[in-house]
Amino acid sequence: MDFADRDSPSSEELIKNCIKKDKRAWDIFVERYSKVVFWAIRDRLKRFGYNFDEGDIEDIHQDVFISLWSDNKLAQVKDRSRVAGWLAMVAGNAAIDYFKKMKRQSPPNSLSLYEEIYKSGDGGDKTLEDVLPSQDAGPGKRAHLNDIFELVDSAINSLKPKEKIVVKLNLLHGMRHRDIAEALKMPVNTVSTTIARAKEDLKVKLRRKGIKDLS
């Protein structure tokens, strides 16, 4: 029987019963949210540039559900109507923990993470590609990248924390304006204006550094 598309019971009721160790509720919960965990693990490993196979995904997937059942981790969920988002974060973090523990691989630092995101073409549109120097920068590209990441930081230093989040989610994490607006509960226009202002500031700073070939 396919429970995945069922809206009943509600996620609130389902979680409440899973915490009480109701096995029927657990089966429905797994049917419904297994794909969220699967997506989040794959997404995190891909974006962080880990060299993984299906066996790794299987192990991490099992680890996540063991922690939910055996450690009653579901009791930590505060907003039970948004369990998919919470589960994706838990699964993503479990993926990093697994690679740290089993493969002795630490998560990448910010610079290599962003390189990986853009190398894999997962950066959405209107993102860092817009402000990078031309792709054929050759051996000097690495130095250019270092400069650019420093400049991104300096360009957004004067912004408020929430505005910094907006700019970084777009320029460095590849999120689209509309998604950022939805996530942070802001008007899309405000998001676009903040990003445009930061990009303009960044372009000025890049020009001062002698980097002019911006798109």
């Binding site: 997404d43 997937h61 089993m102 989040i165 989610l169 998604d179």
Partner: protein, 159 residues
């Protein structure tokens, strides 16, 4: 330069808000002061920003029913986490109770002392083999062990 950035990120990573707090932030359920604290941290933490991105996108994709299906094997194994634990307890207890009963009977019925003792030994061995011999159990126990070790050495950046 790269090492400096890595060190910087490590320092920044200490004291990350947990997943529940980030989810509450995304749903607008935090008090203004708490939300501000999350924003001040996340503005300088690429891992929290990745969590914010993953949290929002997965909620959205799940709502749109746009997530790819996981394999049946993965789902079955995850369901088995609950069954495995209770089945294991029943099975282990069953063989153990039988072994203890046979051992007790060997003293209460002296005529069949040796037979009951052998039966207790066989049932005891069965208890040991059943509790350790099932492949899925080993896999699950191994996963659990790894999970528990991971908890002991929980990375600071996640806490």
């Amino acid at each position: 330069m790269k090492e400096d950035m890595a060190k910087l990120e490590q320092v920044k990573a200490v004291g990350c808000p947990d997943e529940a707090t980030l989810t509450a932030y995304l749903s607008g359920a935090l008090k203004e002061e708490q939300a501000r604290a999350v924003e001040e941290h996340a503005a300088t933490c690429h891992l929290c920003l990745e969590n914010i991105r993953a949290g929002h996108l997965s909620d959205k994709l799940y709502g749109e029913k746009a997530l790819p299906e996981s394999s049946d094997g993965l789902t079955r194994k995850a369901k088995g986490v609950a069954k495995m634990k209770s089945n294991r307890v029943i099975q282990r207890n069953l063989w153990l109770v039988a072994a203890i009963s046979a051992f007790s009977l060997s003293f209460t019925v002296p005529k069949y002392f040796a037979q009951f003792l052998v039966a207790a030994l066989i049932l005891g061995l069965k208890w040991v083999s059943e509790s350790e011999g099932i492949r899925t159990l080993i896999v699950s126990m191994d996963a659990k062990r790894r999970h528990e070790q991971g908890k002991e050495e929980a990375p600071k950046w996640r806490r």
